[in-house]
């Protein structure tokens, strides 16, 4: 088991390398360069001698392949360079500024998804094949399918434009509610369906039948024997769900004008801020890969059969 996990961790290296390589060469094929913004008027190119001096200063005058290996070499030592556009700021500082917004929204969305999804799922399973079950099935199918930016837009129109309950521009803590809700709805629906099917399965286990036969009350059986087993799959998807939610904010942040990672990413691409593009892409990828890895780790800890097998 340990060997398997080490294997999985080592697998992140070629994946991150592939991400870095593809991103590096793709972003350099884009027309324009990081100095366009400094030339003042859009579309007017920079004075050639000035451009050459900038290029020399940041090593962009070297052949692309040399720049590529320099970048790889630096990133192994966790040196991701400085931003070309926001002068004097390192890539790590910039990510440090933007990430907390995305993380807060992602975390709030996760809490909401678990807080709504698990009870709905348990309720649907307990009321299996009743109207409650069918209704929840319908609602979860629709909410799982609705694109989160569409949910975000409708929430914005209803709560900010019409009811004026939440400020339309990003201001204080209230500005986190709608984004988290828009982002979390899909996950809440997914968690509800997962909870429902795993609780239904747990209800058929022998020990549950035994507990019932002993004359334990229905409530006690559900809370003590069914739910505990039914939660294993739910716990294991928390890692990837969180990773997905944090990266999912790329589009949500646009709707609500949040200065998080997503906006950073889009801005850095449009200004051709190469070090920031690379840094943010690698950060996101690492986050997603880590989230997927956590499924395996969580399974090992949640299921004693796996934990004790080869330990």
């Amino acid at each position: 088991m340990v060997r398997y996990l080490i294997n999985r961790v080592l697998w992140t290296i070629p994946v991150l390398w592939l991400v870095a390589t593809v991103t590096f060469f793709l972003m350099h094929t884009a027309p324009g360069g990081p100095w366009d913004a400094r030339s003042g008027a859009a579309g007017r190119s920079l004075d050639p001698s000035l451009e050459a001096s900038f290029n020399r200063q940041y090593g962009l005058d070297e052949p692309l392949i040399v720049q590529y290996f320099t970048y790889l070499q630096n990133s192994v030592t966790l040196n991701f360079g400085d931003s070309f556009v926001q002068q004097g700021q390192s890539v790590i500082e910039i990510i440090g500024d933007g990430f907390p917004y995305s993380a807060r929204i992602g975390l709030l969305a996760l809490v909401m998804a678990l807080g709504i999804g698990i009870p709905v799922g348990i309720l649907a399973a307990v009321k299996h094949n009743t109207m409650t079950d069918y209704a929840s099935l319908f609602v979860t199918t629709v909410s799982y399918t609705l694109p989160d930016f569409v949910i975000a837009i409708f929430l914005l129109i209803v709560f900010s434009v019409h009811l004026d309950l939440v400020p339309i521009l990003f201001t204080d803590w209230r500005s986190y509610i709608l984004p988290a809700f828009a982002l979390g709805t899909g996950s809440a629906a997914f968690i509800a369906r997962l909870t429902r099917s795993s609780v239904l399965e747990a209800m058929r286990h022998d020990h549950v039948v035994t507990a019932r036969a002993k004359g334990l009350s229905s409530r006690a059986v559900i809370s003590r024997h069914v739910v505990r087993n039914g939660m294993i799959p739910v716990i294991t998807i928390i890692g990837p769900a969180f990773a997905g939610l944090v990266t999912g904010t790329i589009i949500i942040e646009r709707v609500f004008g949040i200065p998080g990672m997503g906006r950073l990413f889009i801005d850095s691409i449009s200004t051709r801020d190469y070090p920031v593009i690379m840094g943010v892409t690698l950060f996101y990828s690492f986050f997603i890969i880590l989230g997927n890895l956590m499924v395996d780790v969580a399974y090992v800890f949640a299921d004693p059969r796996i934990r004790d097998s080869q330990g």
Partner: protein
């Protein structure tokens, strides 16, 4: 051997002789799908959208991309104050007809859902079938490649590809559609490859494949005539989920302003364009958003229905 194989077919007819209609997998699945009201509604909605998309040039009252010199911009739809039947759904910020743009947007959604799906099925199924059939070390190597592509965060790749390549000559092809096809196909084929490989691995051990091999069929023929048709059901289910995924990806990218190229209309780009007006004219954001939501729900109903219909052993409690 050949005689024995055709004997299987004869026994089918023998069952038919018992006054019981023969029900193959497909007619059986169709019967089950028809009983699923949500799936039928979804199918009908998709059908209507397909018709609208195909006949958009005939149905659209105006040229969707033409900026008229004599029309007003941002006129509301007919049911609101100041609206008129000249432009039933109003005009956008450049005075273009919203109805015409929404109709052409349906075209983009349908094309962007279907074309990359066809590409991923062709590439993925071939890859998966070859990998599963070869087995052993080759299978191992081929699947490692799938794993790496699978781990690449697809939304990030879409954004980087779009932002980097959309202003190049290739990015301009078909109004930006070509680049979207390629981006979606690059990330999408590996899911299909995994699925078909799994099917192939289990099918190659079955007796009827053994029999086909014994009577001297070439591997290529066995894959095409026996393995592929028997993998068709899961492929169809997977397709019904991948079409809406691509529709959504296009809408999301266009909403970020890096999808389809202007002046072409897609539902996502219409949301993008109308978004700055959200406090002033929310209806312009609502109309395309609603269409995106509806097509997604329709496909979800059909996909769920197909899964239940085509896979009788599928988890009934879902």
């Amino acid at each position: 051997m050949v005689v024995q194989l055709s004997g299987v077919e004869r026994s089918d007819q023998a069952v038919a002789g018992l006054d019981r209609p023969v029900r193959g997998l497909w007619s059986d699945a169709w019967r089950r799908l028809r009983k699923n009201k949500a799936a039928v509604a979804g199918l009908a909605y998709i059908g209507v959208m397909l018709v609208l998309a195909i006949f958009a040039p005939l149905l659209a009252p105006y040229d969707p991309n033409n900026i008229p010199s004599d029309a007003f911009s941002n006129t509301p739809p007919f049911w609101m104050d100041g609206g008129s039947w000249d432009h039933p759904l109003g005009t956008d910020s450049l005075a273009r007809d919203n109805l015409s743009r929404l109709l052409y947007g349906a075209r983009v959604s349908m094309i962007v859902g279907i074309v990359p799906t066809v590409i991923t099925v062709l590439i993925g199924a071939t890859y998966g079938i070859v990998s599963g059939w070869l087995g052993g070390r080759w299978d191992n190597i081929l699947m490692r490649l799938v794993d790496v592509v699978y781990a690449f965060p697809s939304l990030l790749l879409f954004i980087i590809m779009q932002a980097s390549l959309r202003d190049t000559g290739f990015g301009r092809l078909l109004g930006g559609l070509m680049l979207l096809f390629v981006a979606f196909a690059i990330t999408g084929w590996n899911g299909m490859a995994r699925l078909v490989r799994g099917q192939t691995l289990s099918l190659r051990e079955k007796e009827f494949i053994e029999a086909a091999r014994a009577v001297g069929n070439t591997p290529g023929r066995i894959m095409l005539r026996h393995v592929l048709p028997n993998s068709l059901a899961p492929i169809i289910v997977s397709v019904s989920f991948s079409i809406p995924a691509y529709i959504l990806a296009e809408a999301s990218l266009s909403f970020l302003g890096i999808g389809i190229r202007p002046p072409n209309a897609s539902w996502g780009s219409m949301v993008f364009q109308a978004f700055p007006l959200i406090t002033f004219m929310p209806i312009f954001v609502i109309m395309p958003s609603l269409l995106i939501a509806m097509i997604m729900i329709a496909f979800a109903f059909v996909g769920d229905g197909l899964r239940d219909a085509l896979d009788p052993q599928s988890d009934r409690q879902r």
